[in-house]
Symmetry: C2
């Protein structure tokens, strides 16, 4: 059975807990993108968050809720992405150890980031099985607490603080859109947004090439992704039982976007807004571009999830 | 004889005039860059200015000071860069025509930007002679007023508003650094900064491969640049008599940076600060990197001049 879903009050408490430890990221807008699309868009820019992604919120909330005994033994996770860096920095700031399991073939830049935050990396093969086995070995050896990147109550509460801040800054959004990978950000966004404004429409944005959430949502059954192949490398993971349950209940719809639209949207953000965002962070704008009719004349809030991109491997 | 140099009060009046027409751009900082360099850096981010560069300030100030008769006939300039786009938008907002002389081989993206603002483009060969001849033909035909990109009192006053806002936001800067091309931004920066705080050190930042200002400053004689070849394409122009006079009088020194340092600095800003800046805008950080000993422990303000970069031709 999956754990209980967080309530809005849990997200409010998370915000009080982590507020002084995170950046309150800016909400940006672009006159020229608004004119091109005839939609009033607002971008909550988590690319400016610590470690360059919203993941720092959930990781910080999770480590700050450890008991004294748990904290002493540290935290662990398997990830080659933003969650690994986020958990490493969150642990460092609390002065506790972090043990990160990473595939050997993870990008050099990600390894360096995690090392830079003082985490201990254990490398493994890149299969899910190898990751899980290595993680459980590390857990046994160290006694560290596993902080799952999204199937975790406290992590979801932390991610929900993005929408909480967003709706504090722009009260009258008609729509809010977040990217969906494992569904942690999406879950927190839906819980917070619907509690603040029950009339708001909440959409998930997913690459067409990794549309497990879209298919699961439609069928009403959790369908794990197969071998997704998308430039949006933060959105390769499948929903978990907990996030699927929340998303089924709270989200109004999931929209997908083609790879080429994701790249155009990313380029549009870089060129017009002069900010560096990663491909996953451009997926919400991409679904707006592919579904303009849904949003005409509306005030649409987009969560820009992160800005960690390998400048040596840009899609343009 | 060169025209008179602006006073600080002229810059203050320019700011009142253009304030509601420009963006007040943010001052950003990066903990990780500060740690790497052991210098406290502040970045006044004019890449977020309208048209993506500080040039919009000077162009707006200049067009708003035209007489009614002059305004009716419009404005003209020769430029393939940010000044052309800035003047076109400034003219459009005032509802007057802009006539831009551009070399045929100007980047497609610059042509489109200028066209997008409704300016009339006249193409010419890419030599300075062809540009000047074409410009004078356009002037004769249209009666438009020539707005020089930097050898112009009102343009310099507009560019000086960057430093005015910067020192309003961060009062206790020890140092302020601006890139030097034609010297318009540098002149305005020096006049405003020294008036607000006579103790502040004002430096110019120039590519080593286009170091005409460095050499002119050292010799005390205006030396035009030869055939500079630098990635910092906004800094190819030479000082004018007016800007050289101001810079000689007010600037504490000019520092240069190698091409590879400019690229590293640009990359550092993109990766660590998650903002898109053009190569010219990275030259001040590059000179800080090459001259760290000068700035250790100081509060250093850097003017990030613009963010217009061709994503199909990145140096990394």
């Amino acid at each position: 059975m999956s754990p209980l879903a967080p309530q809005f009050s849990d997200i409010q408490e998370a915000h009080k807990r982590i507020k002084s430890l995170i950046h309150k990221t800016p909400v940006l807008s672009s006159k020229s993108i608004n004119e091109i699309l005839s939609i009033e868009l607002f971008f909550k820019s988590e690319n400016f968050q610590k470690v360059g992604a919203f993941k720092f919120r959930g990781a910080t909330n999770a480590v700050r809720l450890l008991s004294k005994e748990e904290a002493e033994k540290g935290v662990t996770t398997h990830s080659s992405g933003n969650h690994a860096a986020a958990l490493s920095l969150a642990a460092k700031q609390l002065g506790i150890p972090a043990f990160i399991v990473m595939p050997e073939n993870a990008p050099e830049i990600k390894k360096k980031a995690v090392e830079g935050y003082g985490a201990k990396i254990t490398f493994c093969e890149s299969t899910l099985q190898a990751r899980e086995e290595t993680l459980s070995k590390v857990q046994k050896e160290t006694g560290a607490t596993f902080i799952h990147p999204y199937n975790n109550f406290n992590v979801i509460c932390g991610q929900g603080t993005v929408a909480l801040e967003f709706l504090e800054d722009v009260r009258d959004l008609d729509v809010i859109i977040a990217p969906i990978g494992g569904g942690g950000l999406m879950s927190g966004t839906a819980i917070a947004s619907k509690a603040i404004n029950p009339e708001i429409k909440v959409y998930g944005a997913e690459p067409l090439n990794a549309d497990d959430a879209f298919r699961s949502f439609k069928k009403g059954v959790l369908i794990p992704s197969g071998r997704p192949n998308t430039i949006a490398d933060g959105l390769l993971t499948s929903l978990s039982p907990l996030t699927f349950q929340i998303i089924r209940e709270k989200v109004d719809g999931i929209l997908t976007a083609k790879e080429e639209t994701i790249v155009s949207a990313m380029r549009m953000i870089w060129e017009r807004m002069k900010i560096v965002v990663e491909p996953s962070a451009a997926v919400p704008l991409a679904v707006v571009i592919e579904n303009r009719y849904l949003f005409k004349g509306k005030k649409v809030g987009i969560i820009v999830s992160g800005g960690n991109v390998d400048l040596d491997n840009l899609p343009f």
